[in-house]
Symmetry: C2
Subunit: 171 residues, 2 copies
């Protein structure tokens, strides 16, 4: 199958939004998606973007049964480790089910890794749910280390009221 | 004790570098620190900074026994959740041992939360090592959720050769 990977443009926001929802359906939490394609466009394509995205496209003649030619995406941003410096973090990696098993996911992830190298990032990081064994195995087979298993890292979040309360205590 | 919190400036890079090393010594891994104050200055204070930092200062008359008035820092950056949007991530929170127990750590963290709110971030995230019980308890007491414990998030990393190999496979 022919496909190409390219940097997302503002006009891809609707397709990205559609695939974010498809991924949430796969993860059985579609009601958790609170973001619109307008917000995605604003947050990803301004002067200081909050994220970056690459998308996978197929030729018109190979479009999905619903008529889509944009069939996958990887969304990422830059983070920082105070011991090692620049890091690239892949938040989402998604390929539409009917286009899986054709190397599109690997191509998206490899593109993110290459972009990271170009930006002098020392490593590529991501998070996976422990019940999502196929994804976990995919990443481990590609050489990822599971730092939660080996070093004991726990991921914490202050949400809603807890964050509000913290912010109010600022001097 | 008097102290103030302010945004870090390029000339704070040496103090930030010193405190990063102090934190690594506390975590028993000082040999892991591979970053110089020059890199910190370049990465944190350019046109598209890879991180942001706030520091805690005490008046000259209350300086540390080694003569430092910069006694703590919180280092953070912006990340993105595709379901909720903008997020602020606190990578490091550190207060020099002789200045602990005076509310400086809370003030630094609250300042990061307030900055996140100003940037319309929906939440504040961070990671903690499971053996670092005092820090874990501190964050949980302040209202953080432990998403590794409750949802099963694992943190993965492609480092060195694994990242290199991925990048080489990019189309």
């Amino acid at each position: 199958m022919d496909f190409s990977i390219r940097a997302a443009k503002p006009e891809d926001s609707k397709d990205i939004s559609r695939m974010i929802m498809e991924l949430a359906v796969y993860e059985k939490m579609p009601d958790q998606v609170k973001i619109s394609h307008k917000e995605l466009e604003q947050d990803g394509f301004g002067a200081n973007p909050f994220y970056h995205c690459v998308i996978a496209e197929v030729p018109e003649k190979q479009k999905s049964k619903d008529g889509h030619t944009t069939v996958g995406y990887a969304l990422f941003f830059y983070t920082y480790r105070t011991w090692k410096g620049r890091t690239i973090y892949m938040e989402d990696l998604y390929v539409m089910p009917e286009f899986r098993g054709k190397g599109i996911g690997k191509a998206l992830m490899s593109t993110v890794a290459r972009i990271g190298q170009e930006q002098q990032c020392a490593c590529l990081q991501l998070s996976v749910l422990d019940w999502n064994r196929p994804s976990l195995d995919f990443y481990l087979a590609k050489g990822a280390q599971d730092l939660t298993a080996t070093e004991g890292w726990h991921f914490l979040r202050f949400d809603g009221d807890a964050m509000e309360k913290l912010a109010q205590e600022a001097p």
